[in-house]
């Protein structure tokens, strides 16, 4: 299908963009990679009169990891593609969860064009990036002609496909904190086709001191309306890594209680709830099994699609795992 008639503006500076947004914000949309927006336009689920293409705007295409170890931050400019973030060794080192989750964002052809900030602005509950921003305690910076403000993920996400941004505001960059040394991260999701929107997905950050669990937070894809975070620190702190199987059952149950998925033709609410529990249980055991080398600094070691595919899962979370 085709989009309805519209005008495309191609500003080259942030100021020009903000002027256009101020004039056209109510009937216009920012266009970055367009990998979520253009399908919506093609299907005529939206029909803005104006699109403001920001891919030629100077000063919003930076990807940098800055700050001293421990307080490092990853700053992702508005026009930075998923692929650039995914390929950055500095990003992977500082915050492996970002790269792990990015590999589940559609396919390379979509990630080559789609932007990380665009995903966050789109605020789709099926999207991985809003969840990662929330789970890692990230924030965004937004500008308008009225000024600049910073919003953390909780302030930004107010509903499915809905943010607290005003129509004249542009997200100029997203900022993901580095994860502390010793934290282990994992992301996994189950989709009907490779790269499709997940039926359920879970991101996890496990904090470990020696052999003892000291913290656990989970974020969700496709099973909550906004990227709510479940902090299981109190429930699992003090547990030994060797007790992973027992504790994993507690984690799965807490996840099932916490989320409130909807049902559709692809999966019922109950099935999605069940899947999220299974994925959380497996992720938790996987992270407990990893030594430090497969946590921060080695994203592929802790997750990666090949190691333990959930495709074809029957919902049996007691199944034995391949070594």
């Amino acid at each position: 299908m085709k989009p309805s008639p519209l005008r495309i503006h191609r500003p080259t500076t942030v100021d020009e963009t903000l002027d256009l947004l101020a004039a056209r914000g109510d009937t216009g949309k920012i266009l970055a990679g367009g990998q979520s927006l253009v399908p919506v336009l093609n299907m005529r689920l939206a029909a803005p009169s104006d699109l403001i293409d920001i891919t030629s705007v100077a000063g919003i295409d930076d990807l940098e990891v800055s700050g001293a170890d421990g307080s490092e931050e990853i700053c992702v400019g508005a026009s930075v593609t998923h692929r650039r973030v995914e390929r950055s060794a500095d990003v992977t080192r500082a915050n492996p969860l970002l790269g792990e989750a990015l590999r589940f964002v559609a396919h390379p052809a979509v990630r080559n064009r789609g932007t990380t900030v665009g995903s966050i602005a789109h605020a789709d509950p099926n999207g991985e990036m809003p969840m990662v921003l929330a789970l890692t305690g990230g924030r965004i910076e937004a500008r308008s002609r009225r000024g600049e403000r910073t919003l953390d993920a909780e302030e930004l996400n107010i509903g499915p496909l809905e943010t607290s941004l005003e129509s004249d505001e542009l997200i100029t960059r997203a900022i993901f904190p580095a994860l502390p040394a010793g934290s282990r991260t994992g992301f996994d999701e189950l989709a009907r086709r490779s790269g499709d929107y997940a039926l359920a997905g879970v991101g996890m950050i496990l904090d470990v001191d020696g052999e003892t669990v000291t913290g656990l937070r989970c974020g969700f894809v496709s099973v909550t309306d906004v990227p709510d975070i479940l902090d299981l620190g109190e429930a699992v702190s003090g547990a030994e890594l060797g007790d992973a199987s027992t504790v994993a059952a507690t984690v799965a149950e807490a996840v099932r209680d916490f989320i409130d998925p909807g049902g559709d033709i692809h999966a019922s609410a109950d099935y999605r709830r069940h899947l999220a529990g299974v994925i959380a249980s497996r992720l938790f055991r996987r992270l407990c099994r990893s030594d430090g080398s497969s946590g921060r600094g080695d994203a592929r070691g802790a997750s990666g699609r090949g190691e333990d595919s959930l495709v074809g899962a029957t919902g049996d979370d007691t199944e034995s795992r391949r070594a």
Partner: protein, 169 residues
Amino acid sequence: MTEDIGTEPTSNIRLAVNGTLHELEVPDRKLLSDVLRQDLELTGTHVGCEHGVCGACTVQLDGEPVRSCLMFAVTAQGHEITTVEGIGDDPENPSDVQQAFIDCHGLQCGFCTPGFVTTIDAYIDENPNPTEEEAREAVSGNLCRCTGYQNIVSAVCRAAELRAEGASQ
């Protein structure tokens, strides 16, 4: 700003496709896939789902595969576009990827093939020696409804071999 009812915004654009610069006027809303097919008559780029799932319309933008149905032609300016015709347009002299599809019988009805060719052409530059599993992952964003994946996966590995042979000659 006033506009006549019934008219829609258009732009004069310059598109670099397969090494040739084209100047044309297109509606702002016109997708790159449609401009390639209708305005430039490069009908090798196929249009399937038009929401980014099937991969039939995949072209290379500055050497990287992208969905041409998820881009407006207006926004493709300033980039180098390569369609399947730019990869190989001579039956007597197919590209390494096209030859691999012939060798492995990687095409059945052929509708999805241009998207596979543009995808694989870029992929084997990035991963010159893919395993079968990696090859399968590499084409997982392209749908073949003849269920021909087995031979397509073989073609990815064969194309990598042919490219390596070509590079060593």
